[in-house]
Symmetry: C2
Subunit: 348 residues, 2 copies
DNA sequence: CTGAAAGCGCTAACAT
DNA sequence: ATGTTAGCGCTTTCAG
């Protein structure tokens, strides 16, 4: 492993000083075209690779961005990261990935790790059990921070979310239009803002259609398949079970459909089902699953964009502006909520 | 934003030298317990955070590991990364993620970026169109490299793969046992070792069962849904179309199933289908899809483990040893290859 | 336009 | 057991 060439090597060979080489390579200072090209040529000849750590130490810019998500194995997050990584890497940054594994302890540790690595900015989504967000607030004072999807309420932090309220409203509107009347909501824990907003949108939409809000129809649980089954067992013990389910996650919806299949309930004829996230698998199910699309890839891209804005603003010394983007979700209507035999009924 | 405390600050306040502080904090050199605890206390008081970039520059250790995959949105890769990230981050490394987007140009650029960032090691999986692997070989001379899943033939590079040959054999064994006789293979491009091995396993297994190898039944294409449909169109123009498909990817298999649905072919009665990867969605399909499970999370973990081994070996000055791990895949049998009406036929 | 010099914060010989 | 010294490779005033 031969020694790497440094600017000193190339300066020596050219009979000039390291600082001249530095200027020639970075290009922004005044230097003669002659030396510049000589330096360029020699750099190529020696296969010179700048040592990022040295320049990072000197300038305080590491060229690193941190992304923290609960877990990268979830389609939603990996797709968002894909979007963000592409923009960021095209902008010349390297992206450090961390997983909180939905544990507050881990989350804090990972954020500390990112700060130690001197990332220039952070994109993050809260873990499920995270309630204390002081750590994020402190972090935001050090480097630009953009929260996405699972965010907390704050006026001073950049964020990207979809409008969960509208998402739920669109879903209910659609179900009502399809003729469903007793719509239940199955949701994630309401201390997460996104889930709370979905419930609020659901209630608002019911009211809008003059449908009663039945508290028995609102079931709060973790967003996974098994809980979906459990929720169904509960809901179908009610004297008057629902005729449609709005689930706050596609995995919950999956549990719902499985329960229905094993209990001779036809979806969508006997039971309409709408999920949330438009996960890859929803389109492949039988019946295919109607779902609220969260534009995960765009979400990652927008988060990256906001961060890059902050970064360039900081570089120019401009004051930072808090941007909170709200994407409007799209309802992807598929078989699970579209009973062909039933005539659409207009809202009252 | 107040200035960060450095070891100099804490040395000054304690009336000792920076090097003493450094020793006290790193703990490995001989220093009195007294000063050590004094230093610790002062560090806490000043909220001292070591500057990783400085120590990186000094020691040549960045604490960074690079992971390069074709795309993070694919379940297989994101799950593998999840496994690797957890081990690596527990070992104190930060993980930089890069995507080659299956473009050789990108791949090279990303690897250069990783080298510039002075990563201490790299875990990578080849892009689809990558034929020239010189770049990897050069890289392996600089830092420990572990290839996984999509690897190239080399005796000097650590790798983790599943035994694709056995995977294909298990799939064919199963299909034959279920009574299928005209089994086609639909695969990724054979210059990728994994895909080549699957084809070889397929051929071997057919021979083992005294079934003819029909070259018309071997279709090479990119592993995505649309190609699966195209492949089916080709295969079903043959005078004698296959009665089962072994697809080298679940996405291909998905295309196969979709084609079958739209052409009144019943799966599994008229057509048996087996995929590769055991992607999340396969279990939710109707019919659910039989697939060769590649243990993606374990794969990431093993890759990380091998890399950590190399790293600790390098640190101790031991010579590096090339480890090539081969995981044995598992066939997950589901509905798409299990015709209930058909009596299992024993292999000849 | 280019050179000299002073560090960024930390570590590792070497000396005391 | 602690202090001294000398950089890692690069950038950036400040002179010339």
């Amino acid at each position: 492993m031969k020694k790497k060439a440094t600017i000193v090597d190339i300066a020596l060979r050219l009979g000039i000083t390291p600082s001249a080489v530095s200027k020639a390579l970075s290009g922004n200072t005044r230097i003669s075209d002659e030396t510049r090209s000589a330096v360029r040529a020699m750099a190529k000849e020696l296969d010179y690779q700048p040592n990022i750590m040295a320049s990072a130490l000197r300038t305080g810019k590491s060229g690193l961005i941190g992304i923290l998500v609960p877990g990268i194995q979830y389609g939603f997050f990996s797709t968002a990261i894909k979007g963000a990584e592409e923009l960021l890497s095209d902008a010349g940054y390297n992206v450090i990935i961390c997983q909180s594994r939905d544990s507050a302890r881990h989350e804090k540790k990972q954020l500390e790790g990112l700060m130690r690595a001197k990332v220039e900015g952070v994109i993050a989504s809260l873990g499920m059990e995270t309630i204390d967000v002081e750590f994020y607030k402190a972090l935001a004072k050090e480097v630009p921070l953009v929260m996405f999807d699972r965010v907390f309420e704050s006026e001073s932090i950049c964020s990207v979310v979809i409008d969960d309220f509208i998402g739920a409203v669109k879903a209910v509107d659609h179900l009502v239009e399809m003729g469903y009347q007793r719509i239940a909501h199955m949701g994630g824990h309401s201390h997460i803002l996104a889930f709370d907003r979905r419930i609020r949108g659901y209630k608002y939409a019911l009211a809008k259609h003059n449908l009663p809000v039945n508290e028995d129809y609102i079931y709060e649980c973790s967003p996974n398949k098994d809980e979906g089954v459990v929720a169904m067992e509960r809901l179908f013990q009610l004297p008057e079970p629902p005729d449609a389910i709005l689930a706050a996650s596609d995995f919950l919806a999956l549990g719902v459909v499985n329960y229905a299949k094993s209990h001779h309930l036809n979806v969508p004829e006997d039971l309409g089902v709408v999920g949330f996230s438009n996960e890859e698998f929803t389109r492949h199910l039988t019946p295919s699953l109607t779902s609220v699309d969260q534009f995960s890839e765009s979400m990652g891209e927008v988060a990256a964009q906001l961060l890059l804005d902050q970064l360039s603003r900081a570089r120019k010394g401009s004051s930072m502006v808090v941007q909170q983007r709200v994407l409007v979700p799209r309802l992807v209507i598929r078989e699970s909520s579209f009973p062909k035999k039933r005539e659409p009924v207009l809202a009252a």
